[in-house]
Amino acid sequence: MYQEIHSKKLSEIDNDFERGVFLASYNSLKQRRNRFFAGSLLSIKHGVRGILFSWPLYLLPLASLALPDQFKILFVVLLLPGIYVSSIILKRGVKEDYQNLINERLIKLKHLRHLCL
């Protein structure tokens, strides 16, 4: 699935000259921009996935439309920890994918679509 973006990783390069050439390209504006796009894409992907699996959680604020004031706090109590834990889980997912697929790699913009799979 990720074959096309599996370029050589910096840590896999032993040769100093090759490392130098790699780093020059890796630190370029274009590569930094590509990494930013890739990171954003991963965040969106994991965020959408998270919402898809736990969307009923985000319905809780709607309860305030039908309930008296004293119950509203109950749903805030249930909602906030839920969102907090979800964000932790999703952040770990983004971090793992970033480490495996983006970090220390030269990224081509046309290959970013593979991150969505």
Binding site: H46, R49, F53, S54, W55, P56, L57, L59, L60, L62, A63, L65, A66, L67, P68, F71, L74, F75, L78, L79, P81, G82, V85, S86, I89, L90, K91, R92, G93, E96
Partner: protein, 610 residues
């Protein structure tokens, strides 16, 4: 390709010998037909696309172990750990022993065991993420830690303790048969390192040099019929009639009239204890997850089905505020349970992989069942709890949607609990492998659901100055039925435990000794609950004192359910291989944690397993 050492010894190479067509379980030793597309492909070990030159690539291989020769030097463990770069708390291969007789005719039987790369690998079927593959090459059952999310279900279902859950890394790893060595014709590292020639390796059902036996059983080895393991034993030296384990699992092995060793309970102690501390296990989140899921489904079924059977007091029209409050609370509570079960995983962020093996894994099916229920519940809640949001929709459409999602949630909830029960029907865990799990889960669903709905309605009606006796008499009858269902299952479960194999009887022995007082308290709780609930149903409760009494009864029912589920997780004794005095001994691990010995990495015990 694996780099061979210069001047590699002849004994390190796998013998190329003739073999029968089928193995002892009637399965072809040739793993795939000659014209299979699986042939001629690279195993891509470490992205190496070369194909090995082993002439017996598509034949089931296996380990040969001679108990006559093993001296328990642990060289096999060391070689495996070095080859696979394992931390001290993980071992793909481990040596355990059983002993018997008395001085001077004392006998110790050492057993070196790793994955048996079974014909019917239960780990592969059980894994919800499909991290396991049985490869046509050598018949190796390989696991990919990069796919695994660390639920540990494979460690539950495997009778040989082969998959190792690394709590530090958050994933499972296991013996890979050293397929990289096999590709160049070398035996696995453990076999090559064996000093005494006790371990050997080759195509299954081929008798290695200096061996006469190809047995599928040895004392201490679980029933091979569960998974059809690819290991063959030799054990010719005479053994005493009874062999005991040296770890703290209360199992011994007794020779029957057919000269086969069968596991029996080893009654070390008869003292009844509370052992409350031991009731808290790594599975605590699962206690909460299973109970909450059963509670939520129970509450939903009562709220949804009761009005259809004429109990209009529970309908949305009768009390819109309470109805909405209930449904949104159910969403919040079920989310909490789902989050807990997710955080219980070694790698929670890979949660979505739980759906990967719907075809075989009961874990995947359970997760899918709960997810379907959760989604239907969400839609149903919005449609019925907030009808003002859907006034723009034609009434007929709204009504159809409400009906579909309501029935959908009701059915999927009940089905999800069936799948939840099937997770525990594991032959390698006889304490769980009984239908009482189903009666217990459904019983809890009815009891907890009824008790919670009754509690909320009783408090609400009392604060409004309304009578609550009618609600209470119906719901307490439901709750009593749930408890009786659980008691019925538990009674037959105990009969089963007493009459079945050693691990079942050992669990029952533990239940009545180590956890004896907790077990009695649970039984007392169930008995008291059913009597009180029936009394409430018959005679009713009134006014504020009645509310107080009801809340006491509810608390007894809830606490009993928590205690019962804790016992359920703490008591299971798997049919694992015997451990040693220290290594793979649950008693030593507990001691090492208590004495802080576990802080020293060389002890091989993690300080915190979650």
């Amino acid at each position: 390709m694996f780099e061979q050492r210069p001047k590699e010894q002849a004994y390190a190479y796998i013998a190329d010998v003739d073999h029968p067509t089928i193995n002892k379980y009637g399965k072809n030793i040739e793993t795939v037909p000659d014209d299979s597309e699986l042939r001629g492909k690279s195993l891509n070990i470490n992205n190496d696309s070369m194909i090995g030159d082993n002439p017996n690539r598509y034949k089931q291989h296996g380990f040969y172990f001679s108990a006559d020769k093993c001296i328990a030097c642990h060289a096999c463990e060391a070689a495996c750990s070095e080859k696979n770069d394992l931390p001290s708390h993980i071992a793909f291969r481990s040596v355990g022993y059983v002993e018997g007789g008395s001085y001077p005719s004392y006998t110790r039987l050492n057993i070196s065991m790793a994955c048996n790369h079974c014909d019917d690998p239960v780990c592969l079927k059980g894994c919800p993420t499909r991290a396991y593959t049985k490869f046509a090459e050598y018949g190796a059952v390989l696991q990919d830690p990069d796919i695994c999310f660390g639920c540990g279900y494979c460690t539950w279902v495997c009778p040989y303790n082969a998959p190792q859950l690394d709590h530090q890394q958050g994933h499972v790893e296991k013996c890979n048969m050293c397929v990289d060595r096999l590709e160049v014709g070398l035996k696995p590292a453990c076999v090559s390192a064996c000093l005494a020639g006790a371990l050997d390796f080759g195509i299954v059902e081929t008798t290695p040099e200096n061996r006469t036996q190809l047995e599928t059983q040895i004392p201490g080895f679980p029933n091979p019929e569960i998974t059809h393991p690819n290991i063959r034993f030799q054990q010719t030296s005479s053994l005493p009639k009874e062999m005991k384990r040296t770890d703290t699992i209360p199992i011994r092995y007794e020779r029957d009239e057919n000269d086969q060793f069968k596991s029996k309970v080893d009654k070390k102690s008869h003292q009844k204890k509370w052992s409350f501390k031991k009731l808290s296990t790594r599975e605590n989140p699962l206690i909460i997850f299973t109970l909450i899921s059963q509670l939520v489904i129970g509450v939903f079924l009562i709220l949804y089905l009761s009005p259809k059977f004429g109990l209009s007091i529970f309908s949305a029209n009768a009390n819109p505020v309470l109805w909405t409050l209930f449904l949104f609370s159910l969403i919040g509570t079920q989310t909490f349970a789902l989050v807990l079960s997710t955080m219980h995983l070694g790698k929670p962020h890979r949660f979505y992989r739980a759906f990967n093996n719907l075809r075989y894994s009961p874990v995947s099916r359970e997760v899918a069942g709960i997810a379907v229920f959760y989604n239907f519940l969400g839609i149903y809640t919005v449609l019925t709890g907030l009808p003002s949001l859907f006034r723009w929709m034609p009434e007929i459409i709204t009504s159809i949607l409400i009906s579909v999602t309501g029935w959908g949630a009701a059915f999927s909830g009940v089905i999800a609990l069936y799948f939840m029960h099937s997770i525990y029907r594991i032959p390698a865990r006889p304490y769980w492998n009984h239908w009482y799990v189903l009666t217990s889960f459904y019983g809890n669903m009815i009891t907890l659901g009824s008790v919670l709905v009754a509690s909320v309605y009783v408090i609400y009606q009392a604060t409004q100055g309304q009578p609550f006796n009618q609600i209470l008499s119906i719901l307490s009858l439901f709750a009593a039925f749930g408890v009786m269902l659980e008691i019925f299952g538990l009674y037959w479960h105990v009969q089963y435990l007493k009459t079945h194999n050693g691990e079942s009887a050992a669990s029952h022995h533990e239940q009545t000794t180590t956890y004896g007082k907790s077990y009695l308290l649970r039984n007392l709780g169930l008995g008291i609950s059913v009597i009180l609930l029936l009394a409430v149903s018959l005679y009713g409760l009134h006014e504020s004192f009645g509310v107080f009494v009801w809340l006491v009864i509810s608390s007894i029912a809830f606490l009993t359910a928590i205690l019962s589920r804790s016992i359920f997780y703490a008591l299971v004794i798997p049919t694992t291989m015997p451990g040693a005095f220290f290594w793979k001994n649950p008693g030593f691990e507990e001691h090492a944690r208590e004495t802080r010995l576990a802080e020293r990495t060389e002890a091989g015990v993690l300080t915190n397993i979650h």
